[in-house]
């Protein structure tokens, strides 16, 4: 690991005033330290934000606000998350291991980098790691990579499970800028597609910090599901994951939410499928057709065509599981 200076700011203004292109914030460190050991992240200074950010979950009549420092395990165990936003807990528990969830924070989860093997292999070109060098995965072994929304510059996928639930539930990311002002970024606009700037994973303004992730009340406490398909039963990144939530009136779908991980550079919302489901009966035939609508949009690479049929099955299964949740 390259040498760095370790600093412990005690409040947000101190932390933000020291933030520049050669510094990085560290909270849980579960992703950043790994990247530093591999010489992918090369900060000259680490700003420890453990005394800076909120470690609290605040419930209100309107919804819930999860402080950026709240550990993944604490979110998944929180009573109000379990009773009002159970899809979030379900998605979190599908990711990482208990040890990592005890360290990894809410803010850090949103900012974690892709696990594309070529991003991790510093001997090969990667536009995300080194802009302008090319994408090794596009013609390489891309079985783990994207099947939608990719560009010729980057076919990496976003690795989080937590974020897939947050995308499905239209969460908001509260950001604190260097000017000490708050801005709110809708979750669907937080992460981005690679286009020709693959080095940028998200739209977090430079030198600002995530303060909290807020979720407004929703009607998805009963009929929800998170399905994650991967190379082994547990403790692996998704090949395909699906977060599904339905609001039902008898058997009729009033509102549907559907998002996927493992398929794109950002948590992918299936808006056309949600529209298709609206007003229909919640039946296996309708779910099957909904899955067909989703896969029509996909564009697999040379080694991941299997993800398309996997996705079709996962969507059908997740929608079906919503009825038995």
């Amino acid at each position: 690991m390259r040498p760095f200076i370790f600093v412990r700011p005690t409040n947000a203004s101190q932390a933000l005033s020291q933030k520049n292109n050669s510094t990085q914030f560290i909270a849980g460190g579960t992703n950043l330290l790994d990247l530093m050991k591999k010489d992918i992240a090369q900060p000259e200074t680490l700003l420890d934000v453990n005394s800076v950010l909120s470690n609290a979950i605040q419930s209100s009549e309107k919804g819930i606000s999860i402080g950026a420092l709240v550990r993944n395990s604490a979110v998944a165990l929180h009573n109000d998350i379990l009773s009002r936003f159970p899809l979030v807990a379900k998605a979190i528990l599908a990711g990482a291991s208990p040890q990592i969830r005890n360290m990894a924070t809410t803010g850090g989860n949103l900012l974690q980098r892709t696990r594309c093997p070529y991003f991790y292999d510093t001997t090969l070109p990667c536009n995300k790691r080194k802009p302008g060098t090319g994408c090794s995965a596009l013609q390489g072994n891309n079985r783990m990579n994207a099947i939608i929304g990719w560009s010729a510059d980057c076919v990496a996928v976003h690795p989080s499970d937590f974020c897939i639930a947050l995308a499905a539930l239209d969460a908001e990311v509260v950001v604190l800028g260097k000017d000490q002002k708050n801005t709110v970024i809708p979750f669907k606009d937080f992460h981005r597609l690679p286009g020709n700037t693959a080095d940028r994973d998200n739209n977090l303004p430079a030198n600002s910090m995530i303060q909290s992730v807020d979720i407004a009340n929703n009607p998805f406490q009963k009929n929800y599901a998170y399905v994650k398909l991967r190379d082994r039963d547990s403790y692996a990144f998704a090949l395909v994951s699906v977060a599904a939530a339905l609001q039902l009136n008898n058997k009729k779908i009033v509102e549907a939410r559907l998002a996927s991980g493992g398929v794109a550079h950002k948590p992918w919302r299936w808006y056309a499928v949600e529209q298709y489901l609206k007003g229909k009966e919640a039946t296996p035939a309708v779910f099957k057709e909904a899955a067909a609508v989703a896969v029509k949009e996909t564009k697999p690479l040379s080694h991941n065509g299997f993800k398309v049929s996997m996705l079709r099955g996962a969507i059908e299964l997740a929608l079906g599981n919503c009825l038995i949740a």
Binding site: M1, P3, F4, I5, F6, I26, G29, T30, L33, D34, K37, K38, L46, D48, N50, S73, A96, S97, P98, Q99, I100, N102, M103, D233, S234, Y235
Partner: protein, 150 residues
């Protein structure tokens, strides 16, 4: 940088490079070699220790981030010659073969019981999935956990 850390209820003041992970601090500076360096990238669980009673990976934790926290390692479990019930159970249930992953398995297993994730074999397996065992002693590990939770 100067650090004061609390390991197994004992306080140590020492000087460490900012790059030192908790795992390297334990093994190289304090010679507490129970926690093992398996992958050093958070993929195997061999370095699992407890921080304020919660299981974490010491290879993905900077030593600079642990002052003020209580760290417990495998060396802190036994009371003299009396082994912790989980250590005893691993011996009785053949919870290991080569033993390399065992300190991490035991630290994780104790947390698994404390967290209450022992209601079924499937639940134990899910909540122990962050600890890999190349010898394949998994059945003995699950048995050890079932024995201790009683």
């Amino acid at each position: 940088m100067p650090l004061t850390v609390t390991i197994n209820k004992k306080e140590y003041t020492l000087d460490a490079d900012s790059r030192t992970t908790l795992l390297d601090l334990l093994r190289e500076k304090l010679h507490l070699t129970g926690a093992k360096k398996g992958c050093d990238h958070g993929q195997c669980g061999a370095c699992t220790v407890h921080m304020d009673g919660q299981r974490i990976l010491s290879c993905l934790t900077l030593a600079a981030m642990v002052p003020g926290k209580n760290i417990t390692t495998i060396e802190g479990l036994a009371d003299g010659d009396n082994l912790h019930p989980m250590q005893q159970a691993f011996i009785e249930c053949d919870g290991f073969q080569c033993g390399y992953c065992t300190p991490g398995q035991i630290m994780s297993a104790i947390a698994c019981v404390n967290e209450g994730h022992t209601n079924s074999v499937a639940e134990i397996k899910e909540f122990m999935s962050g600890n890999l065992c190349r010898c394949g002693a998994y059945n003995g590990i699950v048995e050890s956990i079932q024995k201790v939770k009683k």
